[in-house]
C-alpha cells in the first residue's frame, strides 16, 4: 500500500511539473514531505535522535546541498564581476572583430566565445547579458533569429559542462570528488561541441539565403556607454577557475574566489570594493531561483535517502538499474527526453533524487554522475521550461516549441555519442 502511495506521488507530481501546473520550486519540498509521511516518518519527535519530517527532511534537507549552494553563489558573484569590469562585453566585441563580416564565421566565433564566458558563469542573468550584446550583432550580420538564439543556447550548454560552480551538486548528491568530475568533462563536452558546430553550419546554410536589413538601434550609437575594452590580458580571467580546478585540483569555491582576485588584478577597475560587493548582491539575485531549487532538491534527497523511504523505493529502482554497458547506454539515451519539462531525469529536479537512489542501488557514482551530466546537455538546449530558453525565444521573437522541435534530434544524437563513450569508459 505504501509503495503504491509513493508511486502515486511520483506520477502525480511529475505530471503536475511537466504540465506546468505546479512549479518545481514548490513541487520538490511537497514531494519530500509526502514521501516521508507515506513511509511513516514522524512529523515531530521528542527524541532528538529520531529522524523527523521537520528536522530531518525540511531543516536537514535545506542544508544538504550547502556545498552546491556555495558554489552557485560564488559562481554567480564571479559572473557579475566579469560583467562589471567589462570582460564579458570585451570578449564579445573581440569575437566580432575576429569574425569580420561573414555571418557563419560570426556565429561560430560567438558560439566559442560565449562558451568560454558561460564556463565562468551562467544563469539567466549571464545569458541575458551575452544575448543582448551578441544576438543583435548576429541579426544585423544577416543571421536568422532562430540561429542567433541557437548560438547562445548551445554556448550556454557547453559552458555549463565546464562551469565549476555547477559541479558541486554532483559532489553533494553522489559524493563524487571535484577532480573526478573535472576529468570526465570532455566526454560530456566534445560530442556536444561537435554537434553544436554542425547544427550552426546546417541552420546557417540551410536555406542558402543572404539577408540584408535596414535596422536601427533604439538608442543612438553615440549615446552608448562603456564602449571601452578592458586590457587584453584580463580576457583570460573567465578561464582561471576552470584551469585551477582542472590542473591544480583546487576546490570549487576557492577556485572561483581566486578567479575573482585575478580578474580584479588584471582588469584593475576604478572602484574594486564597489565591484566586489555589488557583484555579490546582484549575483545572488541572478541565481535566486536555482538556490530555491537546490534547497528543494536537498529536501527531496533527505526524504528519499531516509531509511524508511529508501527501503520502499530501492526494490523498484534496483529493477531498472542498468547492469551492462549496452543497457546503460540504451536506458539513459532513450530516456534522455525525460530531462525536459522538469521530468524525472532533470538534474534540477527529480533527477538528483533518482541518481542518488540509483547509486544506493549499486551503480557506480561516476557512471550516474556522467549519465546525469550528459542528459543535462539535452535539457540545457531543448527544454522549453528553462528560463533562458524562454528569454531567448522572447528576445528573438521565435517559437520556443519550434526550438524544441529543431534541437531535440540533434541533442539526442549528442547524448547518444556521449553515452556510448561513457558506457565504454566507466561501465
Amino acid at each position: 500500500m505504501q509503495i503504491i502511495g509513493i508511486l502515486l506521488v511520483f506520477i502525480v507530481f511529475v505530471g503536475l511539473m511537466m504540465t506546468r501546473k505546479l512549479t518545481t520550486l514548490l513541487a520538490l519540498p511537497m514531494m519530500a514531505i509526502l514521501l516521508a509521511a507515506i513511509a511513516g516518518i514522524p512529523l515531530l519527535s521528542d527524541n532528538p535522535d529520531t529522524f523527523t519530517i521537520t528536522k530531518g527532511v525540511l531543516a536537514g534537507g535545506a542544508m544538504k546541498l550547502s556545498t552546491a549552494i556555495a558554489g552557485l553563489i560564488f559562481g554567480a558573484w564571479f559572473g557579475q564581476i566579469l560583467s562589471k569590469v567589462g570582460i564579458t562585453k570585451t570578449i564579445i566585441r573581440k569575437a566580432a572583430e575576429l569574425a569580420g563580416d561573414k555571418p557563419l564565421a560570426i556565429a561560430i566565433i560567438f558560439f566559442l566565445a560565449a562558451s568560454v564566458i558561460f564556463s565562468a558563469a551562467n544563469g539567466l542573468g549571464m545569458v541575458i547579458l551575452v544575448g543582448t550584446i551578441a544576438i543583435p550583432i548576429m541579426l544585423t550580420a544577416g543571421l536568422k533569429p532562430f540561429v542567433s538564439g541557437l548560438v547562445v543556447l548551445l554556448a550556454n550548454a557547453v559552458g555549463v559542462v565546464f562551469n565549476v560552480s555547477t559541479w558541486a551538486i554532483y559532489t553533494d548528491v553522489l559524493k563524487v570528488p571535484t577532480n573526478t568530475i573535472a576529468s570526465y568533462s570532455l566526454i560530456c563536452a566534445v560530442p556536444l561541441i561537435v554537434i553544436a558546430l554542425i547544427m550552426i553550419v546546417y541552420y546557417t546554410r540551410k536555406d542558402g539565403k543572404v539577408r540584408r536589413a535596414w535596422a536601427m538601434p533604439l538608442k543612438p550609437e553615440f549615446q552608448a556607454q562603456d564602449t571601452k575594452n578592458v586590457r587584453a590580458i584580463a580576457l583570460i580571467s573567465p578561464l582561471v577557475p576552470v584551469l585551477l580546478v582542472f590542473f591544480l585540483k583546487v576546490d570549487i569555491v576557492s577556485a572561483v574566489f581566486m578567479g575573482a582576485v585575478v580578474t580584479l588584478l588584471l582588469a584593475t577597475p576604478k572602484r574594486p570594493i564597489h565591484v566586489l560587493s555589488s557583484a555579490l548582491v546582484e549575483g545572488i539575485q541572478d541565481v535566486a531561483g536555482a538556490l530555491g531549487l537546490m534547497i528543494g532538491i536537498g529536501m527531496l534527497l533527505s526524504a528519499v535517502t531516509a531509511p524508511p523511504v529508501a527501503l520502499l523505493i530501492q526494490p523498484l529502482i534496483e529493477g531498472i538499474i542498468p547492469t551492462s554497458p549496452l543497457m546503460y547506454i540504451l536506458v539513459f539515451t532513450l530516456l534522455s527526453p525525460l530531462a525536459i519539462y522538469r521530468g524525472p531525469l532533470n538534474v534540477w529536479g527529480l533527477g538528483s533524487g533518482i541518481a542518488a537512489l540509483i547509486v544506493a542501488g549499486g551503480m557506480a557514482p561516476v557512471a550516474a554522475m556522467l549519465a546525469l551530466r550528459i542528459v543535462s546537455n539535452l535539457q540545457a538546449v531543448s527544454d522549453p521550461t528553462n528560463s533562458h530558453n524562454v528569454w531567448i525565444a522572447d528576445y528573438t521573437k521565435t517559437d520556443i516549441i519550434e526550438t524544441l522541435r529543431k534541437t531535440l534530434p540533434w541533442m539526442f544524437a549528442a547524448v547518444m555519442i556521449s553515452m556510448i563513450i561513457a558506457g565504454l569508459t566507466v561501465f
Partner: protein, 223 residues
C-alpha cells in the same frame, strides 16, 4: 549642408558617416580612410539611382514585381532587443523577398516632420523609400556585387603577424540609402528618418542630434 526653414539639413556625407559609425569594425578603419568609406558608397548609390531611374522610372513597387521580388508586409513589430527592423530582403537563387514592417513604416510617416519641417510623407512614400533601399541590395546581389566587397578591406584584427581582414558592411547600407535618396528625389539620405524617430520616441533630443551632426561633420573633415 542644405538649408531648411528651421535648421541646416545634414549633408549626405554626414549622414553616411553616421551610418558608418554604427559599423562593428568602425574603430578599425584608419582615420585617413573614413572619407573613402563614406564617399565611395554614396557615389555608387547615386550613380546606380541615376542610371536606374532613366531606364526603369521610379515606380519601385512595379519594378520589384517586374524583377520577380515578392514584397511582404509584416504586421508584427520589428523590434528585437534594442534593434528596430524596418525592412529586410532575403536573397537566394530561388527566391528574393522583401519584408516591410508595417508599424515601423507608420511610425516613420508620423515622425518625419520632426527633422524635416514642412515636409510630410504618405505611407506609400515611406514604403517606397524602404523598397528602393532593399531594391539596391537586390541589385547588389544580382548585378553589382555587394558594395562592401567592392571597396577595400580593412584589418579587423591583428595579433602579432596574424592579420584578419574584413569588409566594412555598413558601406552597403550607405549606398542603399544614397540609391533610395536619388531614385526618389528625397531631400537627404533616408537614415535621417531613424533619428527623427529617436527624437519622436524620446531617446534623443533634437538639440543632441544637431550637436552630434556638428561632431560628425568635424570628425569627417579632420579625417
Amino acid at each position: 549642408m542644405m538649408k531648411t526653414a528651421a535648421r541646416t539639413l545634414p549633408s549626405d556625407a554626414v549622414l553616411g558617416y553616421a551610418e558608418l559609425k554604427s559599423d562593428l569594425l568602425f574603430h578599425r578603419i584608419p582615420h585617413s580612410k573614413r572619407r573613402y568609406y563614406v564617399e565611395r558608397p554614396l557615389a555608387i548609390g547615386r550613380e546606380q539611382a541615376t542610371s536606374f531611374k532613366s531606364r526603369y522610372g521610379t515606380d519601385v513597387g512595379a519594378i520589384c514585381r517586374d524583377r520577380g521580388i515578392s514584397v511582404n508586409l509584416n504586421e508584427r513589430q520589428g523590434t528585437i532587443g534594442q534593434i528596430r527592423f524596418r525592412a529586410q530582403i532575403e536573397l537566394s537563387a530561388k527566391e528574393r523577398a522583401i519584408t516591410l514592417y508595417k508599424s515601423s513604416m507608420e511610425e516613420l510617416r508620423q515622425c518625419a516632420g520632426v527633422l524635416l519641417p514642412g515636409r510630410s510623407f504618405t505611407l506609400k512614400e515611406i514604403t517606397d523609400i524602404h523598397l528602393a533601399h532593399e531594391l539596391f541590395h537586390d541589385l547588389e546581389f544580382t548585378e553589382l556585387g555587394y558594395t562592401n566587397k567592392r571597396l577595400d578591406d580593412i584589418s579587423s584584427l591583428s595579433l602579432g603577424p596574424l592579420r584578419i581582414r574584413a569588409s566594412v558592411t555598413r558601406t552597403s547600407e550607405i549606398a542603399a540609402h544614397a540609391f533610395s535618396r536619388y531614385l526618389l528625389d528625397l531631400p537627404c539620405l533616408p537614415n535621417l528618418l531613424d533619428y527623427a524617430y529617436m527624437i519622436h520616441s524620446g531617446t534623443l533630443t533634437a538639440a543632441e542630434f544637431w550637436r552630434q551632426t556638428e561632431v560628425w561633420s568635424g570628425e569627417l573633415e579632420n579625417s
